[in-house]
Symmetry: C2
């Protein structure tokens, strides 16, 4: 049974909705040591830590063509078809985000400004290992990187104890056209992509989820001038439900989030107590039948059911929590979704489980956790590009903004700035 | 005379184009101490450091209405008109970047996905003090924040020794509709906006340039969950010029960058040696006549003239340097600009000085330095917003992607994810 709170006051929300905390202080020191070693020793340091943490025995970590062929053979046709289906929807949605060039704007007579989006030339994708082979994350990162036309796309993922990568990950990478794959995980992988080694190219931006080691390593990478997609934290789901929801579906969705990890958090915000009780009953039935029951039970212990009689208050609470995933489980979901200001991805209606977006609706599943939805977007096509601005002045332009530039530059005490415009003005008005 | 390099090999570029380095190690410890004190002591700690660093004697730091009125009276009508002119161009260009909602994409039968951009609700703008009152930066940050409809926009800027803020900064803030202004600068301002104090509201994202103290403080802010616009470094300009350039204009533009600070860097990439010599001669004449000659001379010492006979090599070099500002000083600038992949803002043609974009062309002047143009955009409207994705499935949608989700979830070992879809499929196919 998830703990229940009835119509809490706004002043209590932050306490009720507190996320499970994590402390990284002791990891940070170790991580910095690994970064320093990878900077100095490159592949040698990578191999040292691959051996220590992943029990990796080989002396190189590129995935060979032969290894790729073997892996592709191992993936069933059924799974290949499913991955190809998901590829199509994700490709379609991200391709639709292409707006590479903006129109030229004449901001004042003879002054023209515009923007162009250009790919980030070198990007690194990190795919976690661990208990589940996250080939779906390969789709989510590689597809927009390819649509953006990033020049160099590399992928790092930790090997299993026998030194291999799950065939579905390799198959998906190959389907997406990723050719540089390295069997390296954890802090040493992030450090390798940050500095570059003999084997691993240096990249300009690193994408992808990971455990607390990867999270802290990505944070350190930013201090060396590498960009990251976003800070990461444990996954979370908030469901808003009213009496038009289907309690069995709500329970199944809560469990789908709870099985991710013991530190996952699920929140139910309901309009009626009856809904809360029905969902809890269904959840009690369903949890017995999932293999990851033990993990889900611990996550459920972090979770809350909150009764909110007032719709406006309910959405104020939701926006203050800023959930990574938000399901609006009602028959008027799209209208209610207008009230959402802070969320990563929103799932509308009783027929839209979070797992649709995790795999195959087309939206990206790399999303801001830990309330970062207040200021960060999930991964999208723009995350693989940067915007350059352009401007040009003709003779009219110099005359129309020239004196404005002169006066402002002079007031800021920047005479040479003024001078650059004055020379042009004089040349036109001899 | 700027040092000259003739047709250097690509392997030499990174050495020639090395930026002036900075070490932040000792600042970081002090900065963390100030963050800890502001977290614990709030306004009390802010006042302590405002007194120590800015000799601030007051016991509060909000700008009062009366102070604002006095400041507005002090700004000349000529300057007011110039600032209003610049406001119009900057507003027009940033308003044209509004694409808040994307169309709904049917990614597969019955599966609909879309995006909406929403404002970041609470943003903090930092305006440096120091030798020049950067009211132009108020325009560059406040205008897009207002267009984005950020709910709470606060501004921090250090007071002068007599406890005041330059009237032009206050006038510009008022013109942009910024009402919460705090006379606090440096590390304590960034810490205040990170945690919130009795006076200063906590924000979700911090924007604005600053010296090395502000830069390191913004980096620390990110470790507390606050986003920043981009990492900052000394300003820089690269000019590409061929024989169709006007050497006096090129020299004036190089000087306008050089006067920013001793650690500024200016680079001239020219097709002919004659251009380099003509620009150096003009620069020698002009530098004597600017008040900030001493600063500019030190910056010039960090600078380079590079002769590149081959156009493709020249633009490869430019893209490897990734300049904050790039002037293409030729009569075919727009065609050549197609070769630009990495730059913050590009200025096309002989009539377009960098100072046009610094103040009034309409583009933003808050741009990525230190080669960050490889992966970061300058500040634009999108920087004040985040993107939320939405999806909804109807009955057709559940049937069209349901089995794909089931197979992928099962392979990733996430049975509850599969189950959430299976229940929906069963309900439709009884």
């Amino acid at each position: 049974m998830i703990p229940i709170y009835k119509n809490p006051k706004a002043s209590e929300w932050s306490t009720i909705l507190k996320r499970p905390t994590q402390s990284y202080a002791n990891i940070e020191t170790d991580a910095k040591t690994i970064f320093n070693e990878v900077y100095a020793e490159r592949d040698k340091a990578i191999l040292k830590y691959a051996k220590r943490f992943d029990h990796y025995q080989n002396t190189f970590f590129n995935v060979s063509n032969q290894e790729m062929d073997v892996a592709i053979d191992k993936v069933s046709d059924e799974l290949k078809n499913a991955i190809q289906d998901a590829f199509q929807t994700i490709y379609k949605f991200h391709k639709a985000q292409s707006h590479f060039n903006s129109p030229k704007i004449e901001t004042k007579k003879g002054v023209f400004c515009w923007q162009k989006k250009k790919p980030i030339q070198k990007v690194g994708l990190y795919i976690p290992g661990g208990s589940a082979p996250l080939f779906s994350t390969v789709l989510m990162l590689a597809i927009p990187a390819k649509i953006a036309k990033c020049h160099e796309i590399i992928l790092c993922t930790p090997p299993s104890k026998n030194g291999e990568i799950h065939p579905a990950i390799l198959y998906t990478a190959q389907l997406c056209g990723i050719t540089q794959i390295f069997k390296v995980g954890g802090i040493q992988a992030i450090a390798g992509m940050t500095f570059g080694t003999e084997s691993i190219p240096k990249v300009y931006k690193i994408f992808g989820p990971g455990n607390q080691y990867v999270t802290i390593a990505k944070q350190i990478a930013t201090t060396y001038g590498v960009a990251i997609d976003m800070p990461a934290g444990p996954s979370e789901l908030l469901i808003y439900a009213d009496k038009t929801c289907i309690p069995e579906f709500v329970a199944a969705d809560l469990l789908s989030q709870a099985e991710h990890g013991e530190d996952s958090q699920v929140i139910l915000v309901a309009r009626e107590m009856e809904t809360i009780l029905q969902v809890n009953t269904a959840l009690g039935d369903q949890i017995k039948n999932i293999p990851r029951q033990a993990i889900a039970e611990k996550a459920i212990a972090n979770s809350k059911c909150i009764l909110m009689k007032n719709i406006e208050s309910a959405f104020n609470l939701i926006n203050s929590y800023a959930p990574e995933h938000l399901i609006i489980a009602t028959n008027q979901a799209e209208t209610l979704s207008e009230k959402v200001v802070n969320a990563g991805s929103v799932f509308l209606g009783n027929l839209t489980p979070e797992s649709a977006g995790d795999y195959a609706s087309g939206t990206n599943h790399t999303l801001p956790t830990n309330a970062y939805a207040k200021q960060y977007s999930g991964v999208n096509l723009d995350a693989f590009m940067k915007t350059i601005t352009y401007q040009t002045l003709d003779e009219n332009g110099v005359n129309s903004i020239g004196s404005t530039v002169e006066i402002m530059a002079e007031t800021e005490g920047l005479t040479a700035h003024k001078n650059a415009m004055t020379l042009r003005l004089k040349s036109l008005n001899l």
